[in-house]
């Protein structure tokens, strides 16, 4: 446990939350959302209707953009081998890395999301569904993405390939997340999509951790 926390602290320190480098994915998230009104026009009715889906797609892409930081740098400078040999089970190592990554990159996006909803004229009840959905759904993005990142870790310029591998798996998150926002706008219960989203996140945590460690083990053997 002590080692696990130590690793978590190391990862967080390396990611340096809220420092300059982490602003890039966040800025990407914001600019992607801002692009949409230019594309579909500024009428409030349309923007309200598509706000939830737009913020979700942008968040998905922002997470995708940061996935290469999970294992790439550690593999390139050799510290991944050291971490694997440190005696900590590989599964826990993956878990620590995913948690740190989520805290450093996804949490800022979630904090920024209500502001984006405001820009897209999302009503208040929609904001609740949006933020709750992102909180319970975004771990699935990190964990599934971690498996993808582990698979392409030794490939040069694996970023585009990673998008192709991971984006189809993200579809359920997008569907349930956007549905929660829509349900709240139509005054329907949003608990169904939120519970499905939570279930998918838990399952993805399992698939992601096992898949990532399997991929890393094959990679380093």
């Amino acid at each position: 446990m002590k080692r696990f926390l130590g690793l978590l602290a190391r990862e967080l320190q390396l990611h340096q939350p809220l420092s300059g480098g982490n602003m890039v994915p966040l800025s990407f998230f914001v600019i992607t959302v801002i692009l949409v009104p230019f594309g579909v026009g500024p009428e409030p009715g349309i923007l309200t209707r598509i706000a939830g889906g737009t913020v979700w797609v942008a968040a998905l892409l922002a997470v995708l953009l940061t996935l290469d930081r999970l294992y790439q740098a550690d593999r390139d400078d050799g510290s991944l081998d050291h971490l694997v040999m440190s005696g900590l089970p590989l599964e826990l190592l993956v878990l620590a890395k995913c948690i740190a990554h989520w805290l450093a990159f996804t949490l800022p996006v979630i904090i920024m999301a209500p502001l984006m909803g405001l820009l897209l004229q999302l009503p208040l009840e929609g904001h609740v569904a949006l933020v709750l959905g992102l909180l319970v759904g975004s771990p699935a993005l990190t964990f599934l993405g971690s498996a993808g990142a582990a698979l392409v870790v030794s490939i040069r310029r694996g970023g585009l390939l990673l998008a192709l591998l991971v984006l189809p798996l993200y579809i359920p998150v997008l569907i349930f997340g956007a549905s929660a926002v829509e349900a709240s706008l139509l005054n329907r219960s949003m608990s169904d999509p939120l519970m499905l989203l939570t279930a998918f996140s838990l399952l993805s945590a399992f698939i992601g951790v096992v898949g990532s460690s399997l991929a890393l083990r094959l990679e380093l053997s």
């Binding site: 392409v152 694996g158 192709l164 591998l165 549905s179 499905l196 998918f200 698939i207 898949g211 990679e219």
Partner: protein, 242 residues
Amino acid sequence: MFGLANPRRFMSFTDYALPIATALTVVLTIVGLYWGLVLAPEDYQQGDTVRIMFVHVPAAWMAMACYLVIAVASLCSLIWRHPLADMAARQTAPVGAAFTALALITGSLWGAPMWGTWWVWDARLTSVLVLFFLYLGYMALWASFEDRARAARAAAVLALIGAINLPIIKFSVDWWNTLHQAASVSRFDGPAIHESILIPLLIMATAFKAYYAMVLMLRMRTDIMERKIDALRAGRAREQVV
């Protein structure tokens, strides 16, 4: 299955099996197409358009079957290091992707006169489209590694993750579809299929399976021979250096 793990035994087995599969493919395709396109009656609602189904439905079945083959072969390759399993998975992928594309294209051709549009975000269409991208990702991962053994293992892990997620994606797309779209599109599950259409459909489905078996054996044989050539070349290069 394990008897065929030896490439040489696989080659001598396919020496016999390949001509049989080829003959089956040719005969069944000719019979099935003639029955389906000429003998089978027109549908009272869909007219001649119903004949697209004789290609569309078997292609859609094969699209799913091929992904299942890839997943099972990947599992065998990861657990038993079965040397031909990863080859079977790799060589199935382009065939499966082609079946998926064929199902999408014929479905779109059918939809244009029947639904009045080339594409609807129907749950089944959407999940087949996602399946197509899973195939593309799988093939892209195979192509990205230089080391073959490494590529095989990474692709196997990806195939298994995809296989676990596929039912969930299917479920979520169904859910999304019922939520968003009022039932405006007439579905093809009206009355049960009459046997005058069912029999040629089953013949065509068997023909597609025979075709898949034929192409898979052909591709795997080619792959084995390519590996052999590579090994011979490497051997000769080593001799020259010495």
